[in-house]
């Protein structure tokens, strides 16, 4: 026999091809491919949600961790403007500064409009009664720590006593915490679904063993080994898992693409950052393969454990 021929025979033996006919395959599979398809679809969707949230969190963190907002809280407009200019001068001297801008008054007005209405305009009575602080949006090359904020506050005190410094990441911390919790939830869901898949395979393998007990006994009495019998079940479950996994992945991909399109139409910056990249899709494509592996290992362990109780 040629070397490829020998390997082909070994692979057939490993895959249980020689013994595949020992147990009727239809009785093994039944609804199993559909159960696996549903499990894989749910797992892929949960994993996609987790990956999307991770993307949102990492993109937002990247954007915000170097960001600082300086408010000049001063009622007198001319003093406020002078302190804002002085603070900007002071900041410009810092080598780690990447970008900086004074937030235009119109933008500030639109920020407070939901709370105070649209009547706040410079020069009118309402604006004089409710002084609005000047805002400086600065971005540094590295993440800003609470110590950096304290140092910056101290530096600015000399030129702009009305300045209040806030790290942008600090007021988004609860949002990041919520995103992290959702990611953990997605991971937990994936783990639970994997356990549910293993349990379904275990039950199916036990049921198939019970149904085919007579045949298994005959094969044992003819000198068949536990491994030979286990390979029959492994092969069957691998075929079921491959079919179910492909269907599940396709279903999940349709759902994810449809949801992605819906979220994209919202036009919200933070949501847009959650879009899945090529690497994310590659990770999702691995889930059916992992499901096949999990199903095969579960079937083998279940069958071997049950067979060990037989003589």
């Amino acid at each position: 026999m040629t070397v490829p021929g020998r390997w082909r025979e070994r692979l057939r033996a490993f895959g249980g091809a020689e013994q595949a006919g020992l147990v009727p395959q239809g009785r093994l599979s039944g609804p199993m491919p559909w159960v696996i398809a549903i499990m894989v679809a749910l797992t892929v969707i949960a994993a996609a949600a987790g990956l999307g949230l991770r993307n949102v969190a990492s993109a937002s963190a990247e954007e915000l961790e170097g960001g600082v907002t300086i408010q000049i809280v001063e009622a007198r407009p001319e003093v406020r403007d002078a302190q804002a200019r002085a603070a900007m001068e002071k900041l410009r001297a810092r080598p780690e500064l990447v970008a900086m801008r004074l937030v235009p008054q119109s933008e500030v007005d639109s920020l407070i409009e939901p709370w105070l209405g649209g009547e706040i305009e410079a020069g009118n009575a309402a604006a004089d009664a409710i002084p609005v602080p000047a805002l400086i949006d600065a971005r540094f090359a590295r993440a800003v720590t609470p110590a950096d904020v304290a140092r910056l506050q101290a530096d600015l005190r000399a030129v702009a006593p009305a300045a209040r410094v806030d790290a942008q990441s600090s007021w988004l911390r609860p949002v990041f915490a919520a995103l992290a919790s959702l990611q953990w939830l997605a991971i937990a869901l994936v783990a639970l679904l994997a356990m549910a898949l293993a349990a379904a395979v275990l039950l199916a393998a036990r049921s198939a063993l019970g149904t085919n007990r007579d045949t298994i006994e005959i094969v044992h009495l003819l000198g068949g080994t536990d491994a030979q019998i286990a390979r029959v079940f492994q092969r069957s479950i691998a075929v079921d898992a491959a079919g179910g996994g492909a269907v599940g992945l396709a279903l999940a991909a349709l759902v994810i693409l449809a949801l992605g399109r819906q979220f994209a139409s919202l036009g919200a910056g933070m949501v847009d950052q959650g879009a899945l990249g090529l690497t994310d899709w590659a990770v999702l494509a691995c889930i059916p393969l992992l499901a096949i592996g999990l199903a095969v290992v579960t079937a083998r362990l279940t069958v071997m454990h049950t067979l060990r109780k037989m003589l």
Binding site: A13, E18, Q19, D214, I218, V219, L221, G223, L311
Partner: protein, 245 residues
């Protein structure tokens, strides 16, 4: 060669009970030699099938000692049982054919289990089915075969791998007298090639058809051995292992 190496099976004070019931086999002791032909007889319920189950390793005894092919069959690790079972050919009383496999695939089963390549299976299986007169039924499933045909498939399956020992439980019970004689000739031919044959039967006419056979008689779970010749046989069975048929 020592006696232990020479013997193929040795039972010493073997007892068997199912659950907490009374013993179905008690104090059974005998030795089988390679290349011998034994008939196991006894009335219904005497324990023939139970004794055969111990012989083809489907059951462990409740007590006593069994040595097969030079190994202690009671303490033998489970993973060594398949190797020992492949040296046995078994004809079950209820045939025990695999229902969803054809006659061909049922007969090929021991060869496939032993890892034979497909190209080494087709010819011997076809020849064997032709020999038992089932060439035209090789693709039929057991459910569509008559009782006699199923029995012949079971016998073909038992002998296809040329076992060291053939254990047959009422192998001619469902076949006509001509086929019964033909099957016995097959067993004899195998026996001449060195296979030890143990046939359980209550057909007394069958015993006379194999003149060189030895008889093991069971009575209410006990092996009748008044002279001790089954328990302590001479070194070669031809010198008289049991009562001559």
């Amino acid at each position: 060669m020592t006696a232990v190496e020479e013997e193929i099976v040795h039972f010493d004070n073997v007892g068997l009970r199912y659950g907490t019931d009374r013993e179905v086999l008690s104090d059974v002791s005998f030795t089988l030699f390679p290349g011998s032909f034994y008939f196991l007889t006894g009335a219904s319920g005497a324990g023939k099938t139970s004794l055969l189950k111990l012989l083809y390793l489907a059951q462990r005894p409740s007590r006593g000692m069994i040595r097969m092919f030079g190994a202690d069959a009671i303490t033998l690790p489970r993973d060594r049982l398949p190797g020992m079972r492949r040296r046995l050919g078994v004809v079950f009383q209820d045939f025990r054919l695999v229902p969803h496999l054809s006659a061909f695939d049922n007969v090929a089963l021991p060869l496939r289990v032993a890892g034979a390549a497909e190209r080494d299976i087709e010819r011997p299986v076809a020849d064997m089915l032709e020999w038992v007169g089932l060439s035209d039924r090789m693709h039929a499933r057991p459910a569509s075969l008559s009782g006699g045909e199923q029995q012949r498939v079971a016998i073909a399956r038992a002998v296809i791998a040329r076992p060291d020992m053939l254990v047959a439980d009422e192998p001619t019970g469902n076949v006509d007298p001509d086929m019964a004689v033909k099957l016995l000739r097959l067993f004899e031919a195998l026996n001449r090639l060195g296979t030890t044959v143990v046939v359980a039967t209550h057909d007394v006419h069958l015993l006379k058809k194999v003149p060189d056979s030895l008889i093991m008689r069971l009575d209410k779970g006990r092996l009748s051995d008044p002279t001790g010749a089954l328990r302590y046989p001479p070194r070669r069975p031809s010198a008289g292992g049991g009562a001559k048929a």
